[in-house]
């Protein structure tokens, strides 16, 4: 681009883990003053490449030049000292410390009497101001903040050392549109100051909004490096998945055109279902074989409603009829016994159990449902695991690998397998596609469509309105912890329709009759 030499230049990088070649002769260049996006499916090697650069993983072959000098870092701290700061996909902060303490952790301003907290907080405030977050109360404990704000705090923390290279590993996966825009403003500002930014995301819109260049990886191999302007979306996706994009595209439209008319008695009917402080009393009907989308912005109450349906939180008002019978569902155990399954949006804390193997994670819910004294035999476990690993195309298909070593998308597929193994009549999926790549996303969407076709009722929650529109038969639009409208889906409904409903602020209560 400019004539300046690259600040980071990696050539022929290879890394092997036992049984897997994680990176195979990958090249990567990063210039000062550019935003460079690293693209690829889950498991393509994006995180591994970042960890190779920061020295978290040792490389087997290849060369890393930083500012023209050959370097091998001993870890994140080492890299940071050399001006390379990283913000990882999962927020790694101390929940019980305040915002200010988190931002300045390890960089506290020291005075003659130990830490000078006043100066430390002042420094933290300056950093937050550059990110447009000056409205945050520095003394608030991190735990009281939304995941989105926590992510911004994590980025602020990386900016404390004024790095020359800033690595953002899926920083936007939990941010809403406003927060993303806010972040991009900051990223552009930093770019204009000459900071080199390495950006990893799954949101194609964001790639085209912010990045100057794209490097594509697939299965640990290097596919190519392209200026963003010269690469259209279809080509980009084909390069990432190595498949024709049209096959993926057809899935959604097919589903939308074969709209399913609910018949007969609802599987589940709720009246005035609510819980003080988290969910206003809501009415709801769910039929066999339909996909009900819950749409709304982050914090609109869609997650809270889903948790009430599953008994993850205890409802304090309302009545639920299941298959026509009045039923109390106050615990997850009860819900599972009634063939209801729920996949939480918080994959890390409420989904996977990191240290258990893929197999153990997959059979956990079935086993819990049967009770511990009626164990699944190893044979049954293996059969179940094999079945879902194949059906959902989990990679690597190694049942004994601890699940923490799988990529986010594959973890999500294993979790989907966990719930499917319980053979639910009602499956509630809260953000099942957040932070995962296009390929895995398409596979999960296909699985949802297949489930509905088999007669399972699915509640589908996603921040991506297009996805909700593509998959749902009916859509409940939520705002401020209450139901705003219920829409019958059809060719006339688009993401814009939903946005309009939210913007109109409930003038359109009878939206489903239009």
């Amino acid at each position: 681009m400019t004539g300046a030499p690259p600040i980071v230049e990696m050539t022929g990088i290879s890394i092997s883990f036992p049984g897997v070649k994680a990176l195979d002769a990958v090249d990567f260049r990063l210039f000062p003053g550019e935003v460079h996006t690293l693209m690829g499916e889950n498991g393509a090697g994006k995180s591994t490449l970042i960890k190779a650069l920061t020295g978290v993983y040792k490389i087997d072959e290849g060369q890393i030049l930083v500012a023209g000098e050959e370097r091998r870092f001993g870890g994140t701290a080492d890299a940071q000292a050399a001006g390379i700061a990283t913000v990882y996909q999962e927020v790694n902060l101390c929940a019980n410390l305040s915002i200010g303490e988190n931002v300045m952790l390890g960089h506290e301003v020291r005075g003659p009497f130990g830490i000078n907290w006043k100066a430390t907080h002042r420094a933290a405030a300056e950093v937050l101001a550059t990110l447009g977050l000056e409205q945050l109360d520095l003394r608030r404990p991190l735990a009281t903040l939304s995941l989105a704000i926590q992510q911004l705090v994590a980025i602020s923390r990386a900016m404390v050392t004024r790095p020359k290279v800033l690595i953002l590993d899926e920083p936007t996966s939990s941010l809403d549109a406003n927060e993303v825009a806010n972040l991009f403003t900051v990223i552009r500002k930093l770019r204009d100051q000459g900071v080199a930014i390495l950006f990893v995301t799954h949101f194609l819109d964001q790639v085209y909004a912010i990045s100057d260049r794209i490097t594509v990886l697939r299965n640990g191999g290097f596919v190519g490096e392209y200026p963003t302007r010269e690469l259209d979306r279809t080509t980009l996706i084909s390069k990432m998945i190595g498949k024709d994009f049209a096959t993926l595209r057809s899935l959604g439209s097919e589903r939308q055109s074969h709209h399913y008319e609910p018949r007969g008695e609802p599987l589940l009917k709720a009246e005035d279902l609510g819980r003080k402080g988290s969910s206003e009393p809501t009415d709801l009907e769910l039929h066999q074989g339909e996909v009900l989308g819950l749409a709304g912005l982050l914090g609109s109450g869609r997650t809270e409603l889903a948790r009430l349906l599953y008994g993850a939180d205890r409802p304090d008002s309302g009545t639920v009829w299941l298959r026509g019978r009045k039923t109390d569902i106050h615990t997850p155990t009860a819900a599972l016994a009634h063939r209801i399954a729920f996949s939480s949006e918080n994959r890390r804390d409420e989904g996977i159990i990191r240290d258990l193997s893929v197999r153990e994670n997959l059979v956990l819910a079935v086993q819990a449902k049967r009770g511990w004294f009626r164990p699944l035999s190893r044979k049954e476990q293996d059969a179940l695991t094999r079945k879902y690993l194949t059906e959902l195309n989990v990679r690597p298909a190694d049942p004994e690998r601890p699940i923490k070593f799988l990529s986010g998308g594959n973890q999500q597929k294993v979790l989907l397998g966990r719930w499917l193994a319980t053979e639910p009549d009602l499956l509630i999926l809260d953000e099942p596609t957040r932070g995962i790549d296009v390929g895995a996303k398409a596979e999960i969407q296909a699985a949802v469509a297949a489930l509905a076709a088999k007669g399972v009722a699915v509640v589908f929650i996603s921040s991506e309105l297009e996805e909700v529109v593509r998959l749902s038969d009916r859509i409940i639009v939520m705002k401020d912890h209450r139901k705003l409208a219920e829409l019958e889906n059809g060719p006339h409904v688009t993401a814009e329709t939903i946005v309009a409903v939210i913007a109109d602020e409930g003038d359109d209560e009878e939206g489903d009759s239009e």
Binding site: P18, L336, I353, E360, L364, Q367, A368
Partner: protein, 354 residues
């Protein structure tokens, strides 16, 4: 060829990383020290008259029995991310109940069985109280069981009126002192109970459920794991096992010593669990490891006496053994050694090259 070598090396790595391995090494080292002190240390004799095996190894096995019981119970509790500080006190309660009951009875086997049932029932109930406080009331395990640790010894004092109580019942004493085909009953019982617990947790899905709770209690709740009933079960089982340990300890001398029986044995149990490779943070647990830890502690206690280490020096000696063991188990310390070895090898190579 090189593939085979790599696999062997990987296998060796797995064994060395397995923390219980170092426990076995430590036991072997202690035995070796004893053999140096007395070459006949390991010999096991057979007494034709009494039909008993005898020897230091047999003594170690007998001494290990109570520790094995509480270590296994502790292991299960620790797996759920909890801790049970009350095992020593539950031991003394079970012992006090036994002695107090037997003192007023004739020495029949039926009375021994009745006493055993009541003592173990009360121990289980005390464990269940721990479980109730932790799972239903939601107190921290440390606090709940600390309360029980203090209360338990008080209960024992009330039961015996504050006295050390002695009783006579040959059947009851047989549990701790008898022999079957030459082997101490107490060790056979201990191994049988350990095997039973192992089968219970590993052949059912109990082990998986406990680990799931210990690793991530929120995620396991959403997966339908019944945390409350499992915690109640685990603390009750720990209480029951502590009760058995208490019976073993008191039956061996048919005396309960209210201020000494089981005193601070919770620490031995925790130590045994940790030596066995189970993290106090919860999650993955190893009953086999806890057994090795228990055997190590018994071996250590016996070694101290056998070598005649002065009373004032025994705590220090035991501490040193434990610290060295923990250092060897630490991944970081081992990698330091490896690093130094590699450096030395390299410098030797360079020296040769030069």
């Amino acid at each position: 060829m090189s593939d085979l070598a790599a696999r062997l090396a990987a296998g060796r790595g797995a064994i060395v990383r397995n923390q219980a391995f170092w426990g076995v090494i430590a036991i072997a080292a202690l035995l070796a020290i004893n053999v140096v002190a007395d070459p006949g240390y390991l010999s096991v004799g057979y007494n034709g008259e009494t039909g008993r095996l005898s020897g230091n190894l047999i003594d170690i096995l007998r001494a290990a029995a109570p520790i094995l019981m509480i270590a296994v119970g502790m292991c299960l509790v620790v797996a759920t991310g909890g801790i049970d500080l009350s095992v020593g006190s539950i031991m003394v309660v079970a012992g006090a109940v036994s002695m107090e009951l037997l003192r007023g009875m004739d020495g029949s086997a039926g009375n021994a069985a009745l006493t055993l049932a009541i003592a173990l029932g009360i121990a289980t109930a005390l464990g269940a109280v721990n479980g109730f406080l932790v799972s239903v009331v939601g107190l921290q395990p440390f606090i709940s069981t600390l309360v029980m640790m203090l209360a338990g010894r008080g209960i024992a004092k009330v039961i015996t009126g504050g006295q050390n109580t002695t009783a006579d019942n040959d059947s009851f004493a047989w549990l701790a002192n008898g022999y079957v085909v030459g082997v101490p009953v107490v060790f056979l019982l201990a191994i049988a109970i350990v095997a039973l617990v192992w089968l219970l947790v590993r052949r059912s899905a109990l082990g998986l459920m406990l680990e799931a709770i210990g690793m991530d209690s929120r995620a396991s709740r959403l997966a339908g794991v019944k945390r409350r009933s499992l915690q109640l079960t685990v603390y009750s089982v720990s209480g029951l096992l502590a009760g058995i340990a208490g019976v073993f300890a008191t039956a061996s001398v048919m005396t309960v010593d209210v201020s000494r029986t089981g005193y601070q044995l919770e620490l031995d149990a925790i130590l045994a669990v940790v030596i066995g490779g189970t993290s106090l943070a919860g999650g993955k647990f190893s009953i086999g490891g806890a057994v090795i830890g228990g055997l190590l502690i018994a071996t250590l206690d016996k070694t101290v006496v056998f070598l005649g280490i002065p009373a004032s020096a025994t705590p220090a000696f035991k501490a040193i053994v434990i610290v060295v063991l923990c250092l060897l188990q630490s991944e970081r310390v081992r990698s330091l050694f490896r690093h130094r070895r590699a450096l030395r090898a390299q410098s030797q190579k360079e020296a040769v090259a030069a």
